[in-house]
Amino acid sequence: MNSEKVIFAFFIVLALTLNFGFFLGGMDNAEHHNIYELFAAIVISLVSTILKVGDRTHLGAVFLATSLVADLQLIAAAVVWGFTAHVYGEALQGHSLATVISLSGGALLANIISVVLLVAETMMVRR
């Protein structure tokens, strides 16, 4: 067992689960989506990006790319939320709520790819 691998896999899977947790719920109900979960998803996603940078393999490059996509989508979701709440001063609902959730849905896809890659890599290296 390699502790580096454990940490790596832990952050990638955690990024996916948090993202999924935030995404889960009705598209029109702000009650179903917790802002703390979005915050945690962003932080974990950033950490897993940093963990992926510096790997020179082809697989490493794809890992990095998926992670960057997830970061981008999640940060966009947070910015939309922040703008709605503070700049327009409205409660999060309707169109803006749907935008935040669908953006996080996109990040979810990227995170799923990331985890699939992780599993594939683990399967390839049989030890």
Binding site: I35, Y36, F39, A40, V43, L46, V47, I50, L51, V53, G54, R56, A78, G82, A85, H86
Partner: protein, 573 residues
């Protein structure tokens, strides 16, 4: 670049993760801790405000407690996170700075910059391996001739010295081991603009390795190498090196030439020496008894060459362990008068101080001149820092290893045909050599001759190329043409065609009535002015035509037509 970013991120991984986590914890804290707004109502910071506050706190900008004054609980948390975020930033910046100070990282940065500069070269250049005495002289000579050079040396001090030096064309340098094929490839061995590679290492194995690599990577490349032993010389020549220069061999054979055939010696000296000197009376060593002090590599080479000329020689060597000393050699210190007297210094006609200690060599010469003031003195200079000492020592000839090699190589670079020319000339008999010398003197008077090449093609001599395609031009035309342009119709040539390469054939001293063909290559010799004049003439069609016809023709189309009409009306009687 790829590698550098990877290295950078790998090293920054921990500081970045620390920074993210510290920020995340600080933000969460501010969001969770309840506060009070300006009306006294309970209020909680949103993520937006928390991120804003932590951002300016962490970077020590500090706008204050925004948007409402903090409660004491919030201040506790701010106090904690203030230190945490600042420390996290300092840690990150510290690691970043240490990465940029890292020797290995800096070296890879330099290598990367070097590779990129080589890739972007769009002018002819030479690769020089080794920046010792020879390398630095050669690089300076190339730079002042406007030729770019790429210098590689494994010694960092030398590269620093190079970077501090002043050059007309600054060379591109790298501190690396040249015997690695990757380094040579990065230095541009296979680069389309690379003209040649010159390897000048002190170590023959390095020179050999460079030669092998260069030959394998790019067989068409011009390769000039230095060699210290005849074995290495033969070895490097065996796989296609163009020129191999052994400094001891070169000097010894020159000295033998000076004794045997002063004319040939003059030719060699002029053609491989620096240009632009005033012509000097060549040193005339007398044939007679010669004393060689020191029987190392140089002494041995001298002995072999002078012995072949049938000169009676005496060797003084202080190391009695050395085997194969010639019979009659004296074992003793050559710096002492006793040993010199035993060797017969009183009646000797020349002495060569050939040890590998500069102080000893100077001392030998001074002692020898005291005993026999008329003796012909030759000394070997080992280190160029002692050059001024040797200058003031009143020597008849000086053997400077670095200068011998760098001058010769520079001459070969400037005029690649010189090597073949000298090989043919070296077989000349004495009177033939003297005739050639007097012909050259007739052209250049009292300057040392300048050598240059003219290739009759589109690129080098466009005007001449055009004319040669249309009409018959004789060698005499361009030579006298130069004279016309310069000396106003006096039919005296100020340049001389030394050598002609046509296809695979070589013609030594092409006759004046030989017809010039396309793609002929001429090795010319003459004064500096003649060189410039000839460059002008072969490049400028108007000048060339006026030189060929002997009258000043109009350059523009209109005046040409007018003149043509005038000529038709008044046919010359």
């Amino acid at each position: 670049m790829q590698n550098l970013i990877f290295v950078l991120f790998r090293r920054l991984r921990l500081p970045l993760i620390t920074l993210i986590i510290v920020y995340a914890v600080s933000i969460i804290g501010f969001v969770l801790i309840p506060g009070i707004d300006d009306q006294g109502n309970p209020w909680k910071m949103s993520f937006f405000h928390a991120f804003y506050f932590v951002s300016f706190m962490g970077t020590t900008i500090g706008f204050g407690e925004i948007p409402y004054a903090f409660t004491d609980a919030q201040r506790f948390w701010a106090l904690l996170t203030m230190y945490a975020t600042v420390v996290a930033w300092l840690y990150g910046v510290g690691v970043l700075l240490s990465v940029f100070q890292d020797k290995a990282f800096l070296r890879s940065l330099k290598t990367h910059a070097f590779n990129r500069r080589i890739k972007n070269i769009r002018e002819p250049f030479y690769i020089i391996c080794g920046y010792g005495d020879t390398g630095s002289q050669l690089t300076h000579a190339l730079a002042s001739a406007g030729i770019l050079s790429v210098v590689i040396d494994s010694n960092e001090d030398r590269i620093n010295e190079l970077e501090a030096d002043d050059f007309l064309v600054p060379p591109i340098s790298l501190c690396a081991d040249v015997s690695l094929s990757e380094i040579l490839e990065n230095a541009g061995v296979t680069h389309p603009w690379c003209l040649g590679i010159i390897t000048l290492a002190n170590d023959d194995t390095v020179n050999l390795t460079v030669a092998v690599i260069a030959e394998l990577l790019n067989p068409d490349l011009r390769l000039i190498s230095r060699a210290e032993t005849p074995e290495a010389e033969a070895n490097i020549l065996s796989f296609g090196a163009n020129e191999v220069i052994n400094p001891f061999e070169t000097f010894a054979s020159r000295l033998a030439l000076a004794l045997k055939s002063p004319g040939l010696y003059c030719l060699y000296d002029w053609m491989t020496g620096p240009s632009g000197r005033k012509m000097k009376e060549p040193p005339v060593p007398k044939v007679g008894k010669w004393i060689i002090c020191g029987f190392g590599r140089f002494g041995r080479t001298l002995y072999d060459h002078l012995d072949d000329e049938g000169i009676s020689l005496r060797v003084i060597e202080q190391d009695r362990e050395i085997r194969d000393l010639p019979s009659g050699s004296i074992i003793g210190r050559p710096t002492e008068a006793l040993a010199l007297t035993r060797a017969g210094i009183e009646e000797a006609s020349g002495i060569i101080a050939a040890t590998n200690e500069d102080a000893n060599n100077l001392s030998i010469i001074m002692t020898a001149e005291e005993i026999n003031p008329s003796i012909f003195c030759i000394a070997r200079e080992n280190q160029s820092k002692n050059a001024h000492l040797f200058q003031s020592a009143n020597l008849d000839m000086l053997m400077q290893r670095g200068t011998v090699i760098s001058n010769t190589i520079f001459a070969f670079i400037k005029t690649p045909m010189l090597g073949d020319f000298l090989r043919i000339v070296s077989r000349f008999k004495n009177d033939k050599a003297n005739e050639l010398v007097s012909r050259i003197i007739g052209v250049v008077y009292d300057d040392t001759p300048e050598l240059w090449e003219i290739c009759i093609n589109e690129k080098d001599a466009p005007a001449l190329f055009e004319v040669v395609k249309k009409q018959q031009i004789l060698v005499a035309d361009i030579l006298c043409g130069v004279a016309i342009a310069e000396c106003d119709k006096s039919k005296h040539s100020i340049a001389l065609a030394l050598f002609l390469k046509r296809g695979k054939g070589n013609v030594l001293l092409p006759e004046k009535n030989r017809i010039i063909r396309e793609n002929d290559r001429f090795l010319m010799c003459g004064t500096k002015e003649a060189h410039q004049q000839m460059l002008l003439v072969v490049n400028n069609i108007n000048l060339l035509e006026s030189v060929l016809s002997g009258e000043d023709l109009p350059a523009g189309w209109l005046f040409r037509k007018l003149r043509g009409n005038k000529k038709a009306k008044n046919p010359p009687s």
